[in-house]
């Protein structure tokens, strides 16, 4: 019964998987773009 409950819970969580993927992907992209912009502004050496 416990396993059935966990299975049901996981099934519900899968509905928000796209949100997690999109937020993660865009978050990482945003962070990398910012880091790249900072690196290009810093003077060499």
């Amino acid at each position: 019964m416990v396993l059935a409950h966990i299975g049901h819970w996981y099934a519900e969580i899968l509905y928000v998987l796209p949100v997690v993927l999109v937020a993660g992907f865009l978050g990482v992209s945003n962070w990398r773009e910012k880091r790249h912009a900072r690196a290009s502004q810093d003077p060499p050496g």
């Binding site: 099934a11 899968l14 509905y15 928000v16 949100v19 865009l26 992209s29 945003n30 773009e33």
Partner: protein, 472 residues
């Protein structure tokens, strides 16, 4: 978004679509209750469509197209005499509904009042507003009464008539937001919501409140801001191609008028209430809520409330929580946008992007109520002949019956999924177009919409999850 990021996102979307080819041939569905592919795949595919749309906007839509000058065209004008006639029809229908509610049978399905208010008025006019423009305005019964009273008073005592008070700017559309929340409470929470006499009483109370508002602030100012249904139907009409200006009909591109919505105070609240209450309507029919509600109801009963009142309090908590969740999701989007450019406060961004919530609100309404309108709306066939449920047969259609096979379960599911996807893509388009006018370059505009994309995907997943839960 850089081109490399865009290509990666497109690849992600394409991969998701390719991974679920069954969706492309999902015509073999035999009904919502027995889908050949899991509903979960519909959710993932819908998210993939949104991501692909976002990438398409980032690459192919570098300049604002919907904002600014509108391509509008005057189609035709109706005779001036039709205005009072439409108003009189609206008042007559209102009187009929109230009379039927009190004088007719108290069996909800056999009385005209509940079907007219909950199905034809609340849902039917919402659909009509999108397709034909703001058709409610000329038929608005309380506006017609207010205008009629004003006209008569002007004729009888032109000098002693006081000027209405200027409508307070800070009040904005808040009265409409509260009115919509109260209507949703009546429809989704109140135990006696289907009783025809309750519907009649609620209609009279609402009309009284509108007449009071009009008498204080003037008919047009109140109808534009304070009349919950007037505001609701008018906002929905902004998405469609028709615009009634007095008795003139103008045409315009789809969505374009939404950019002209001025987000006065309460506008976001109206849209959030619409999405939140519709969400709760779906959520309250699913297994998650039905496993929470009994425990919550029991806890409230322990405080000394009766069973029915405890259930109403339980559902009220659920309704308010749903509105709060939707509000929180939108807030996350606007606060996130601020990280791109701190010139705009989160509240300012909330107002500037409020119009992007409008197609989502419409999508939720279509997805949740399409089958309700198509099936339950047919009841008007027999109710038109027997409005009081007393056995009369005025038009000879009293024996008409509801055809439950009028729309198939397949069709309902396709309409629901299609409406949610189209609504959210339209929301993305409006938000992207607005971002292009706010930020100095297309790159920043696209980056600001990362957050909006996440919110739109979340709304889509929520909407489809709610529909799936209700279908179990």
């Amino acid at each position: 978004m850089t081109r490399r990021t865009a290509v990666r996102a497109a690849a992600l979307a394409a991969l998701a679509s390719a991974a679920f080819p069954a969706l492309a041939s999902a015509h073999g569905l035999v009904g919502r209750q027995d889908l050949p592919i899991p509903r979960l795949l519909f959710v993932w595919a819908a998210a993939a469509v949104l991501i692909a749309s976002f990438v398409g906007l980032a690459v192919l839509w570098p300049k604002p197209r919907l904002e600014g000058e509108q391509h509008e065209r005057r189609a035709f004008a109706l005779p001036a005499a039709l205005g009072p006639v439409c108003g009189a029809i609206g008042v007559a229908l209102f009187v009929l509904v109230v009379y039927a509610g009190y004088a007719g049978t108290q069996t909800p399905t056999a009385n005209l009042a509940p079907t007219v208010v909950y199905v034809l008025f609340w849902v039917g006019i919402a659909f009509a507003s999108l397709l034909f423009g703001d058709v409610f305005r000329p038929f608005n019964p309380w506006r017609a009464i207010g205008r009629g009273v004003g006209w008569a008073a002007q004729k009888l005592a032109p000098s002693s008539l006081p000027e209405p008070i200027a409508y307070p700017e800070r009040l904005g559309r808040w009265p409409a937001a509260i009115g919509l929340l109260l209507f949703a409470w009546l429809e989704l929470v109140y135990g006696g919501k289907q009783d025809p006499s309750t519907v009649a009483t609620a209609s009279l109370i609402y009309a009284g409140a509108q007449l009071l508002g009009m008498s204080v602030y003037g008919v047009e100012a109140w109808c534009r801001n304070g009349d919950a249904f007037g505001v609701y139907f008018n906002l929905l009409s902004k998405l469609g191609p028709f615009d009634w200006r007095g008795r003139e009909l103008w045409t315009r591109p789809f969505l374009s008028a939404a950019t002209g919505i001025v987000a006065i105070p309460g506008t976001v609240a109206v849209l959030v209430v619409l999405i939140g209450t519709t969400s709760f309507d779906g959520f309250s029919q699913g297994p998650t809520w039905n496993s929470i509600a009994p425990d919550l109801q029991s806890s409230i009963q322990d405080l000394g409330l009766g069973q029915v009142r405890a259930l109403e309090v339980t559902f009220t908590i659920g309704l308010l929580a749903a509105v709060a969740v939707v509000s929180g999701m939108y807030r996350v989007g606007t606060v996130g946008m601020r990280s791109i450019d701190t010139r705009f406060s989160a509240s300012e961004l909330s107002g500037r992007f409020a119009h992007s919530l409008l197609p989502i609100a419409l999508a939720y309404v279509v997805a949740h109520y399409f089958s309700y309108l198509a099936i339950q709306g047919q009841a008007i066939g027999y109710l038109a002949s027997d409005p009081l449920g007393d056995g009369s047969n005025i038009l000879g259609t009293a024996t008409a019956q509801i055809d439950y096979g009028f729309v198939s379960a397949n069709m309902v599911w396709y309409v629901q999924v299609g409406a949610l996807i189209l609504g959210h893509v339209a929301g993305l388009v409006l938000a992207h177009d607005r971002a292009l006018t706010l930020y100095s370059n297309a790159r920043d505009a696209t980056r600001s919409q990362y957050w909006m994309l996440t919110v739109m995907v979340a709304f889509t997943c929520l909407g489809l999850w709610l529909l799936s839960a209700g279908a179990v």
